[in-house]
Symmetry: none
Subunit: 200 residues, 2 copies
DNA sequence: AACAGGTCACGAAGGTCA
DNA sequence: TGACCTTCGTGACCTGTT
């Protein structure tokens, strides 16, 4: 049973990927395409509709938040395995690029479009990695703060996600703006972090 | 398989380009030209007819809308991969300079601050205010900083809202790019936070 | 064992340019 | 026009959680 119905793997994957975007699709015919193993790929709208009609439930799909938690947990585990925590625990700040390397590998699971090259945001991460290497602990409220910021970011994200209405002409410009802003936000977060008492 | 039939590249391309214009072509003979690798170019009408007869389906050709979508996506990706031209920002020792609000408007060629009108993004500000009220800690300049971010994002949103017109049907694409960036940053921050000693 | 999500090679669209 | 390239959705297979 996948999402409440016995399905093949492909339909499972299809549903997982598309169930939340029904509105985005349009049938080029009459919304009643017959869907079978050979015609399945022809009309996403109708295929998805059939999924729903057969009882598949989008509620069974994990929320972004839940998926995030999974991912994080996984990453944390990965880090723990890589770094023997108990092991003498000397730490100090050997400028070894451990943190950097680690960042790269664990991010690969998340970022597929950046084939190896560093981008704007990575620079930010480097800075933070540096701070971590210094091993200064964050006070509890400080780490709380960081989490809060994440929450805010998420809020924002959802906000934008649900706002797809209008139409845009100058996409290029807009995208560039987006890009710049993300970069800028990243730096702001970093600066904010730097200002926390633990780092002073 | 191309358009439902095993074909060579040339027929694939030919069909893609012409399948939707069958009516526009006329055979100068009797609509029964023989079509082979050497005569193919002589009569488009008959070549195309042969394509259809052999089972090629024009339904497999992406609609204009879909093609437009692709194009947009491509553009968005291109922008995302752009590196910041300026700002070598070493990060170095960082620290207190943070306090100065000169986060700088290096990007402000694109986005200007705009206090005043209220809209959805203000909710973001509200959230922050709440966080501030709650647990105490944000210094004034810190909340200022956060407000700043909200404002900037507001600007962006307005940019989109005010532009309507066609050509580009899909703001969603752009939004997705934005989300993507935020999401990625969020993950990084969270992961890094988790690796701080305070969390262990 | 069940059932979520993640991964990644691959097929088949469109795009490019000599 | 067509050989060659890029892109993205698909689905078989894997991982992780309950």
């Amino acid at each position: 049973k996948n999402f409440n119905v016995f399905t093949c793997e492909s339909c499972k994957a299809f549903f997982r990927r598309n169930a939340l975007k029904l509105k985005e699709y349009k049938c080029s015919l009459r919304d009643n395409c017959s869907i079978d193993i050979t015609t399945r790929k022809l009309c996403r709208k109708c295929r998805l509709q059939k999924c729903f009609d057969s009882g598949m439930k989008k509620e069974y799909i994990l929320s972004e938040e839940q998926k995030q938690m999974r991912k994080i947990r996984k990453q944390v585990n990965g880090v723990n395995n890589c770094k023997p925590a108990d092991d003498s625990d000397t730490g100090d700040s050997s400028q070894e690029s451990v943190a950097t390397t680690d960042t790269k590998s664990s991010c690969d699971g998340i970022v597929h479009h950046n084939h190896g090259e560093s981008n704007d945001c990575d620079q930010g991460v480097v800075i933070i990695d540096k701070l971590i290497d210094d091993k200064r602990p964050l006070a509890e409220w400080e780490s709380t703060r960081l989490r809060e910021m994440m929450t805010i970011l998420n809020e924002l994200k959802n906000k934008y996600k649900s706002k797809l209405v209008a139409e845009v002409t100058d996409l290029d410009m807009a995208c560039r703006a987006f890009s710049y802003n993300c970069e800028r936000d990243a730096y702001k977060f970093i600066r904010l972090s730097n200002s926390l008492t633990a780092f002073q």
